[in-house]
């Protein structure tokens, strides 16, 4: 598991790479906020990943056939 913080530089590169895949044009006025929120989200991803998950810990997504 990566342990380092998401740097602003890496976040910027990630936005440049992924946003076009989603058809999103991230305007300059949005970029600082998006970078900050990606950093916050990744901090919380790391906390969520502290829970040990086994192979049989299935997702909780709801679907009934």
């Amino acid at each position: 598991m990566p342990s380092s913080e998401l740097t602003a530089e890496v976040a910027e590169r990630y936005i440049d790479a992924v946003a076009p895949l989603l058809g999103l044009a991230v305007a300059p006025v949005c970029r600082p906020g998006v970078v900050l929120n990606l950093q916050i989200a990744m901090r919380l991803v790391r906390i969520a990943e502290t829970l040990d998950l086994e192979d049989h810990d299935e997702p909780a997504a709801v679907f009934e056939a």
């Binding site: 989603l22 949005c30 929120n37 919380l44 991803v45 906390i47 990943e49 502290t50 829970l51």
Partner: protein, 465 residues
Amino acid sequence: MTDLTQLTAAALADGVKTGAFTARAVAEAHLARIAAHDGRVGAFTAVTAERALAAADAVDAKRRGGVPLGPLAGVPYAVKNLFDIAGLSTLAGAKINRDHPPAMRDAALIEKLSAADAVLLGALNMGEYAYDFTGENAHFGPSRNPHDLTRMTGGSSGGSGAAAAAGFVPVTLGSDTNGSIRVPSSLCGLFGLKPTFGRLSRARSFPFVASLDHLGPLGRSTADCAAFYDAMRGHDSDDPVSQDRPAPPLGPEVGAGISGLRIARATDYFDGMQEAAARDATALVAGALGAGTVEIPHVAAARAAAFVLTCSEGGVLHLDRLRTRAADFDPDTRDRLIAGALLPAAHVATAHRVRAKYRDAMRALFRDVDVIIAPATPTRAPSLGQKTFDLDGQMVPVRANLGLFTQPFSFIGLPVMSVPVWTAGEALPIGVQIIAPAWREDIVVRVAGHLERAGLVGARVARLD
């Protein structure tokens, strides 16, 4: 003469049924209070006065004709503006949604309340697309806390908190994805019931995070919340997560007492990151209930996973609007939604797995405990516009952290009521959460009712003159 706006829903229904006053008089009194004061409060985005008076007249005509009245006869209420109201565009707090066509049909819960003879007074302000804990809104202005108009209501059901605390209606409906019923209930001094996930129909309400969205009532008494829940319960195949299972009425449980319940205050995570007011209120309630203590397993991971799911699912829901109308969002909402849409799928899948594992751990915990007590918010109402607050020496963002203590319970859909505590000499309230196992809303209202009868918790109508 009685000021009808000071009465509970139960007292209003009784008065209409016995003929002490008419439903029209009730509706007119509340509409007059809204007209006099909502310009300063900002609770409503639409007041449906014509519809309300017609509905009230219909209730009065039923009584005159000897037709049995519904349990909420003539009781005024209002709904967060993410509920469809026939004839109005469903705003969900967003400027973008002003362009939506008017709803053709009421939300499922409004239809149920109409069948119970309740009277809808309008649509309430909220944080944009429900991604908010503050009650502020860049497009429609903030909902202001009626107990101090310079302070936040909390959100995202900010107008729902404001309207009930201001005496505009005795009960409102809100939505709660991560705490949006319980946070404004805490900051505005109300009882707020978030039922079990899948309990109340979400049909024809605007979604935020389909995996986590709940609807429920905010009111000025346990009994009023129970009465609205009772009128709204029942399976609905129009909501894909609605569960078809027995839903006994809560009304009889409000006075049932707490005998036999094993009650514990949540420790560790729930001891930190809060002001003394939250700690004192929780201790007061826990002490009165003779609560032991319990440590909630995996709680930090659970809260973090709730955050991840929320921003990802929310971002995906709004992806097309983010592509085409990004400039029309509230910047605070927009940038979080864009970041959420960009999150790698691997992290979202992990969050779903954390959710299942945490739910299983909590099910095991509930074998030994019936009720968990925890703070609802880390502070009393912050000031409007306040961006950060100091929680135990850490300066952290208000917007993200008002839900610090609510998120871990909505994440696994547990039934929770926030109950309002007013400590000595304080003009502002703060809430304490009562949490029970899934599908046990009966336990939640038993505890809340007990605390209310003991005089430890209670709501107040704000003085606005």
